[in-house]
Structures are given as C-alpha cells and as structure tokens.
Amino acid sequence: MAPHTVAVNPNPVVRTQDLYRGFNGRTILSGLDLHIQRGEFVALLGRSGSGKSTFLKALAELDHEVEGSGTLDVPENRSVVFQDARLLPWRNVLQNVTLGLAGANDAGRRMLREVGLAGRENSWPVELSGGEQQRVALARSLVRDPDLLLADEPFGALDALTRIKMHALLRQLCARHQPAVLLVTHDVDEAITLADRILVLEEGSFIEDLQVDLPEPRDHGDPRFGQLRRHLLSRLGVAAH
C-alpha cells in the first residue's frame, strides 16, 4: 500500500498554524500546521525527546510557562488521558470519573460499565490494578463527551495482554463517541492498530503524515501491516527487519 498525504478538510476540530514551542531558546516545535477532523483518530510517533509531549501539552493548553507562538484552535471540551492514570487517591472510583461534573452519577456508572468496571464504583483507586486504574481514567475522559481526546502514552505502563484489551476498548469507545483523538505513542504497532492517520515528529516538524487504509480489525499478519511498519520504523531511524 502506498501511503498518501491527506487533503485539507474545511471544518477541522483542531487547527494549529505555525505553532512554535521552545525551552530556554532551544526550538522544540518549529511552525507546526495540523488539522484534525471530528472522529479522526491520529497517532503521533517520534523519537524520545522529539517534542511529542510538548505538542500534546500545547493542544491541552497546559503549557503556561513555555515560550511559544502561533495560532492554536482547539475545542473547549477536551479531555486528557495521561501516562499515569492520575486518579485522586482520596476519591472513590465513581467520584473520580465524575470529578467536577454535577449530577453525572448515572452517566458515570454507565461509562464505568462500558469500560468493564461495573460494581467497582465505591472502590478506592489503590484497590485497583494498573489496567483497571487506566480504564477509570479513560472513563473519566469519555464521560465528558469530549470533542478532542488527547492521550500521552496512556498504555505505556501496561503489560502486553492488558494493552491489547485496552486497544480494543479504546477503538470501540472512540467509534461510539466519535471524538477527534490524538494519541502519542512510542509503539509503531499500537499506532497502526488504532489510528486512521499517523504523524511522525522529527526535529520540530512532521516528517510524515499518512492515512492508514487497512481494514478493521487490523491483523498484524497482514503484509500491508508489515510494510507500513517497516516504512514507519525507517522514518524513525530504526533499522527494520
């Protein structure tokens, strides 16, 4: 399959133009232009230190003290899934899901059922396994029905088996709730399995922006999967086997 570049859509959910970010005079992101559509699942790949988290924080508007310029147009209603589940230890599972939302208990329970945690509403976060905590974090993000879901290596700390389950869950939930998604990941396979579109960040710009047209569910044995994988790995500077 020949990866191709995306055409610009007139009505994107996320729009950045000439986005610049730097630390202490060192440029990390230099003039990024990006549009993301409603319901589009974008994976962002890049070497460690390439600025993926910096870009995600910019989209989340969490970078108060970072030098920067450029236009940034993101929806007001956005959610972030962090690498750690980041649950408040002093609030139970349901309270964590509905944090800051008034009268959302029913929606919170429904969301917990969707991530397979029905009956755990009153547990403390310390009583959950790592994967369960990350599912609570996912429920907390999705119960807000975000227009934009930002996730920074959300499954990095999970074992391979749990990760596969989480992939299926995330795919399914995103198909149902239709947010625009930006998923930062180190894992090329994860990106190909989940994303409609893959970006590669290198030296402050996107050196790759391609659509993934593989049928779902994606099969690692598919030769096109392997071809795409080799292509991306070479773009990341890793010798592919």
Partner: protein, 285 residues
C-alpha cells in the same frame, strides 16, 4: 470421621501447621509494625498508673512529694460533691473549645490563602513564623494591655496558640500536593472552588490532622497558662489555689483531668484520622 475425635484436636493441628508454614515462608522479613494491638495506645498510660499505685502502696513514694492515688480519688470525690470540679471544668472547657474552633478555622484559611497565592504567602508566612518564635507567656502582658483581663484575652491567647500548628502543617501538606493533580484539575476545567474542595482540602488533610493533634493539646496547655495568671475560675485557677494552700492531692487531681483531656482529645483526632484517611495504605495499617 466422628465429631468427637476431631474436636479439640484439629485446631491444635491447624495451629501447628500454620506455625510451620509461617516459619518456612517467613524468610521474608516484615518491615511494617504489623497489625494493631487492641487498646494498644492506652497501655503506656496504664503502666504509669500501675507504677504510681504500687509505689505509693509499698511506701516507696513519699506522700508529701506525690499523693497516693486513693488520696487523689478522695479529693476528686470531694471536688465533685461540692460541685467545684464541674464548675471549673465547664469554664475551662468553654474557653478551650471556643479558642480551638476559632483558631482552627483561622489557621486553615490562612494556610489555604498562603498555599494558593504567592502574595498571600508573602504576607502571612512571616508573621506566623514570628508568632511561632515568641512564647505565649511573653505575649500575655501585651494581650492583657490590649484586651483587658477578661474572657476575651484568654480566648485570644488560645486562638493565637492554636493557629500556629494548624497553619504550619496544613500549609506544608498543601504545598506538597502533587503538581500532576493540579494539571489534571486544569484539564478537567475545575472551578477554583471545586479545585479547593476536590484536591486541595483532601490533599492537605493528613497535614491538617497532624496540626490538629498538636492544636488540641496546645489549647489545654495554653489554658493553664492564662488561668494561672489572671482568673477567678477554671481548672488552672483551681490548681493555682491548691498550690497556695499546699493541697497536693487537688493539684494532682487537676493534672489528672488535664491528662485525661489530652488523651481523649488525641484519641478523638486519631479517630477522625482513621475515618477521613481510609483511602490511604500506609505503615500504620
């Protein structure tokens, strides 16, 4: 298998197996203190009481130096019979509790302001540190000048004493709240008030409760000081009067009341601690 045969035998066997089991797999050293002993926190105080009783009964303690427990009990009976103890206690309790409540409220609010704003910290932190360095006893003459010698001065003295530990420990805990939770609150669009309610107050709770443990004992301690300097009622006054007449047993009765109050207040705060901090998994559990 008959019930009679197993009765009385099986538990022993089970216990032995358990012990062996523990030995074999017990290679791993347990570093925590282990499960709690029932009423464990009262054991030390009770031991002190036993020592005192034995010492007096065996004649090892001179009654002129330390009255025997039964003499003190007699004094208690007398004090309660003529209503003196209840009256003095009531007056003291009113002062201590009023001072505690006001001091805790002020200390907490100051800690939150100083913790959440740089200007607040710049204005509040210095004066509190100064208050901490100045002994209450040295402040009392000044407070008497400003507020007279009535109830006002006494309660204000207690309030000032209580503010310090509440402020220090709450502020310290608040500053220690993980920045990741602040980031989370921002992404969830929490209002300032929701942020304080959901993150700041629960996050600072362990520190606040530690401050409260200091504060509850401190409010009784400052009470003695103010009541011995200028008062016509209260436990401190009762003790001071007994000193004038050389009534050791009444002095000790007063001290016993303070001791019981101190222990009871501390136990109350620990109880609150267990209830409100049940989300924690720590060394103490």
């Amino acid at each position: 298998m008959t019930l009679i045969a197993t009765d009385g035998f099986k538990p022993q066997q089970a216990a032995a197996a358990n012990l062996q089991n523990r030995r074999r797999s017990g290679a791993r050293v347990r570093l925590g203190p282990g499960p709690a002993i029932p009423f464990g926190l009262q054991i030390g105080s009770l031991a002190l009481l036993v020592l005192w009783t034995l010492g007096s009964a065996l004649g090892l303690i001179d009654p002129r130096i330390l009255s025997a427990p039964w003499t003190v009990l007699d004094a208690f009976r007398q004090l309660i019979a003529d209503g003196r103890l209840q009256d003095h206690f009531g007056v003291s309790a009113y002062r201590a509790v009023t001072g505690l409540v006001i001091g805790v409220a002020i200390g907490t609010v100051l800690a939150i302001i100083a913790g959440l704003s740089r200007i607040g910290e710049a204005l509040i932190d210095g004066p509190i540190q100064i208050k901490r360095a100045v002994p209450t006893l040295a402040l009392i003459p000044l407070l008497m000048l400003w507020f007279g010698i009535g109830e006002e001065m006494k309660i204000i003295t207690i309030v000032l004493a209580v503010i310090v530990p509440i402020y220090i420990h709450t502020h310290n805990a608040l500053r220690g709240i993980d920045n990741r939770y602040v980031e989370l609150s921002e992404t969830l669009n929490l209002s300032r008030w929701a942020f304080i309610r959901e993150v700041v107050l629960p996050g600072a709770m362990p520190g606040f409760l530690l401050g409260l443990r200091f504060a509850v004992t401190l409010c009784w301690v400052s009470l003695v000081v103010v009541e011995q300097i200028n008062a016509t009622s209260g436990l401190g006054y009762m003790i001071n009067l007994a000193r004038t007449y050389g009534q050791t047993e009444i002095i000790i009765a007063g001290i016993v009341v303070y001791a019981v109050l101190g222990l009871a207040s501390d136990a109350a705060v620990r109880f609150i601690e267990r209830r409100t901090l049940s989300w924690r998994r720590t060394l103490s559990q």
